[in-house]
Subunit: 154 residues, 2 copies
DNA sequence: ATGATTTTGTTTGAATTTCAAAGTATTGGA
DNA sequence: TCCAATACTTTGAAATTCAAACAAAATCAT
């Protein structure tokens, strides 16, 4: 491995986990302490699903890469905690539509604000040229993994 | 958010998890199906600890960001599965030294090979100049988060 | 020296997350 | 009409993790 490879590998191995841990800790501080990270992820996914006009249980479970059964369990508690609402679809009574409450809105907003701040602080340390190359490179990295993931089926 | 910010945010939110999932799936295929991802992480950490000449339970637990109790539980099963060996230190009989077996060596090698392949395939898509800037930028990103993590105590 | 404290690790009971399998209800096609 | 597929829920079990209580060894203070 040459130096560039080492830098990249170190990033993938070490920094990856650091960032995830940092984000989780920050989320815990900035949002309701009543929620675990997994629960915050579920709430986020519900918002994204609503934006896409596809806030069914199946769709959200698929987006989260968890089974429908797992989502049902998660939504049970999030509903009882007052973050989500379940309602049957009128067109197809098998379908359950999941909607965030106002309380969930606050959590989601805090998360978005956090991300905004994190990214600004992060790009602050880079020159304009570095910023440009980083953005395009990461896009390529993303595409590389998307192809890999597709090749591995799913 | 401008385009660069969007690209970076998208990477952190979406691609991050894609990569982790891909890596986990690949590890599952390439190594013993007898091991979970957490267990593979423990084995990796033991190897790194041995390299640093500090393969005590405390050190390994700290590196993994789990409690000593959690590590004890994990090592119990990994010892019974034949991947790790426990032995008391002679100098300080409170200390437990954890060592990988030959079987663990195979798992670790597979993981390293996987990383090597991943990084080569990844850098393949980038020009030499992009490669250089990406490496230095990611190092800056790493330092940014290390400072953040430090600021948040720990 | 010796008694108190710290360090190192283990055990145990509980919480969280997740899944597979079995079950219910609804839909849509043959 | 009836049967297969779809959408979801329930349930029991496994994995991961932690906090708290414990034990043993080392070190510190007097």
């Amino acid at each position: 491995m040459d130096d560039h490879q080492k830098a990249l590998n170190d990033f993938l191995v070490v920094t990856f986990n650091e960032i995830l841990r940092y984000e989780e800790a920050a989320l815990k501080r900035w949002t309701d302490a009543n929620l675990s990270i997994s629960e915050i992820h579920v709430i986020e996914a519900v918002f994204q699903a609503v934006e896409q006009g596809a806030n069914t249980a199946s769709h959200i479970a698929h987006a989260l890469h968890i089974t429908l059964g797992s989502l049902t369990v998660a939504v049970n508690t999030l509903e009882s905690k007052g973050y989500l609402i379940r309602e049957r679809s009128q067109e197809d009574k098998r379908v359950v539509l999941i909607t965030p409450t106002l309380r969930a809105e606050l959590v989601n907003q805090a998360h978005q604000d956090f991300h905004q701040e994190m990214i600004e602080g992060l790009l602050d340390g880079l020159s304009s040229e570095e910023e440009r190359v980083l953005a395009t490179s990461l896009t390529k990295v993303r595409d590389f993994f998307l192809r890999k993931a597709l090749a591995t089926l799913e």
